[in-house]
Symmetry: C2
């Protein structure tokens, strides 16, 4: 049975279940950031997914990019570049990060992973971002 790794659960909040992935909002106010976790058991690498799941994943990555752009737009902080990454060095369960980057963000042009400490969202902001992400992903 699929369940997100507890370390992913603790660092992000549930947004919605897509056809393949559970979409989660990374609990870090520094970046608009969606984490996609394919709802398949025991999957660590992209190659572990069936071909049709890989196609779905690609579509969901594009969707997550749109959600990240919408989140940035709502804060009037247009992004300069999407960063998409499947690393899994800390949590091996396959998960894909889709992150909105700006030239003036604290880690630019370096990667966000492992950079500094997460900054908490204000609670109402977290709700608003999560609702916006959900609305964009469910189009």
């Amino acid at each position: 049975m699929f369940a997100p790794d507890p370390r992913l659960e603790i660092s992000s909040i549930f947004v919605t279940d897509l056809a393949l992935c559970q979409a989660r909002l990374q609990a870090d106010a520094r970046w608009p950031w969606i984490v996609l976790i394919p709802r398949r058991e025991g999957v660590r690498e992209l190659e572990d997914l069936a071909a049709h799941d890989l196609e779905t994943l690609t579509r969901e990555i594009l969707l997550a990019g749109r959600a990240v752009r919408a989140m940035a737009g709502a804060a009037d902080r247009k992004i300069d570049k999407l960063n998409v990454g499947a690393l899994g060095n800390v949590v091996a369960q396959l998960h894909i990060h889709v992150v909105g980057r700006r030239r003036d963000d604290p880690a630019w042009p370096g990667p966000v992973w492992g950079f500094g400490a997460p900054v908490d969202y204000a609670l109402e902001k977290l709700d608003a971002m999560s609702a916006l992400a959900r609305a964009t992903l469910q189009i």
Copy 2:
């Protein structure tokens, strides 16, 4: 007309042209590392690719993963995790990194991007890795 960004050219060597991407070997002996550059002009984000190109890209990312595993195997250094990333904060032209990671590598569990300085390959080693990558990618 497609041409790889000069900053990608200088940090990697040509391996082969696949159906969609130019595959290049990152000139950094610290990691088995393939860079895929879709041979399309003016493409910065995954969403800029046509749907059939995205499907091809997915297949070529899996192929590159196999090549990276082969390169690591040849050095008797089995990898623990593949890292796949499309960042583009430094070079905006769309390019996808496929990197073989080991628990005892210098940047583990952090990302490789922006970590320390590249280590040159010995010339004969570079040739051997490139030939091996080419053979694996062209299967």
